[in-house]
Symmetry: C2
Subunit: 335 residues, 2 copies
């Protein structure tokens, strides 16, 4: 604190100009190796680190990226962040985190606050509460941005997603293979391509197997665990489905509880399957069949793409990167 060690100080001690010091620190070709070494040694000795604000101001680079997501306390997103962090660290970048809480206004406010040079780029998984497509259509023109998992289609930006349609189709077939014919669908992310693709996979699999979909068997996600519990209990009592296909993790607890409260045995009376990155899925009672998304890899991949853009490297042809999810069969689907 006391003895501010900055470039000027280094320059004075070494009797050279601050320009030379700056260039030496940045390993410029203009500076001789001898001088560079003198600078580097003294910098290390005095524990010099460049002032980020000054550096940002002058160079217009912050070496910082922002991650804008609905929540961090969520298995998928926290794993994604781990992947992002890993790559960011490799590149020497810092990571700012913003949670939108699925609030579209917060989402706009945060991202807007990032446009004045606070960060070099943004990684985001958009809020599902409302359609915010127009906003993002504008945003992608203003700052390097990569979408992951929750994306908007047809925007001029890189998108890292998973094979939602295919895996949902495959999962539905699994339920059918297990003898289910009345498969209820717990619908989340309805406003987003991911949610629509999952639902489409479910519907198409039903049709391919000659099962007529029924709107009565579809439950839309509501905000609040208790509400969903009520919804699912009503569903179970009124329409007696023989399976629950949950498209988002948030339905798991209410689904299990609802079955218990209604007195249904899993998987004998009803089978359950859910999109989820829960590490304890195998310990649930009974263990839960899940569609597990490669959350960590999604984070890594998205971050890699962003850094390619930031470093102006040509992106390998495609703007859409699709990773594979995996269906992990466990007791809750019982076969």
């Amino acid at each position: 604190m006391a003895e501010a060690v900055n470039i000027k100080r280094l320059a004075q001690e070494l009797n050279i100009s601050i320009a030379t010091v700056s260039k030496a620190l940045n390993d410029s070709y203009e500076i001789s190796l001898k001088t560079k070494n003198r600078v580097w040694d003294l910098a290390r000795e005095l524990n010099y680190t460049p002032n980020p604000a000054a550096s940002n101001l002058r160079s217009n680079k912050t070496k910082t990226i922002a991650v804008v997501i609905p929540f961090v306390a969520n298995n998928f997103f926290s794993l994604s962040i781990m992947g992002i962090e890993e790559i960011a660290r490799q590149y020497g970048y810092h990571v700012l985190i913003y949670q939108t809480h699925e609030n579209i206004e917060a989402e706009k406010a945060f991202t807007n606050s990032l446009l004045n040079g606070r960060v070099d780029g943004i990684l985001t998984s958009v809020s599902s509460s409302e359609d915010n497509r127009e906003y993002y259509a504008n945003l992608v023109k203003k700052i390097p941005l990569v979408f992951f998992d929750r994306v908007y289609e047809d925007l001029d930006a890189v998108k890292v997603t998973t094979d939602d349609y295919e895996i949902a189709y495959q999962a539905t077939e699994h339920l059918i293979d297990c003898g289910c014919t009345k498969i209820a669908y717990l619908f989340g992310l309805e406003n987003l391509p991911a949610g629509k693709a999952r639902f489409a996979g479910y519907l198409d699999a039903l049709k391919a197997h000659g099962i007529a979909p029924s709107a009565e068997l579809v439950v839309n996600y509501l905000d609040g665990e208790a509400l969903n519990l009520e919804q699912i209990k009503k569903l179970l009592e009124k329409f007696q489905p023989d399976a629950l296909f949950s498209s988002i993790e948030e339905f798991i607890i209410p689904a299990y509880c609802a079955c218990r409260e209604v007195g249904l045995q899993i998987p004998d009376d009803i089978k359950i399957l859910s999109f989820s990155n829960l590490s304890t899925a195998k310990l649930l009672s009974p263990s839960l069949t899940t569609i597990s998304q490669p959350a960590f890899e999604i984070g890594r991949e998205a971050a890699k793409c962003l850094f390619k853009i930031l470093h102006k490297k040509q992106l390998d042809d495609e703007q859409n990167i699709i990773l594979k999810s995996v269906l992990i069969k466990r007791e809750s689907t019982g076969c």
Copy 2:
């Protein structure tokens, strides 16, 4: 991007000096309300937002805090971050996240990189792999810092923790009340006050009930799920404990698996209890009795303390804030 809108631009359009604009934006008493309104209106119209780098450089304030934690993909920490974020947003601060992966070198490297004015303050939960006390003893002199959950004692800094000793004592008594006399301890965070306090609570409760502790019944955490599974299986086979008291969440999966593989029924043959913030604890097979820490509140409280320090408000007397954990009894302790 094109038409950089900055203070100079505002000043030109309004035909006043940049000093006046700056002061108006900061609501200085020196400026008349009339002028302020003109500035504010134009700023809004042109979508002006101050350049953070310039502002930071001049004022030495970043409106940014850092959170340095072992992992974000962890129920406790991700909840803490939610709490921190909530408070930070109220104060208009940005949040940088750094994961140490329990690596003491990464821990030092990150925090050192924050000392050049990148952030105004730090919130941290220290790595448990080694003792890094000396480093922090120095660090707290250089930057406002608040510890939460995983702290070092006797440092001149605010510490937000939980009642580890008391709740561990209480939990052990609960196991004893359920008839257990041979209670194994799955030991984590051994290098930290939290880990030591939990263990002490366990030991003291045993003694108070006339049960002699045994070193054979203590298993230390190893890095890697498989290793812990092996350890616990050996423990079960060699010493037949009638309860497992796990001091950290990471033991839950290996503990459950070990019991299954060895053929022990929970809670009939053996009871299990663990520190944990797992939201699915009640859905496990059988549901898990947990000590649940108020993770969200810890984050909130820690952030509040940091902002008090940053705003030079006097801290209410005490440097140690202790929140209460809660013991949630479920099937795995079966009584």
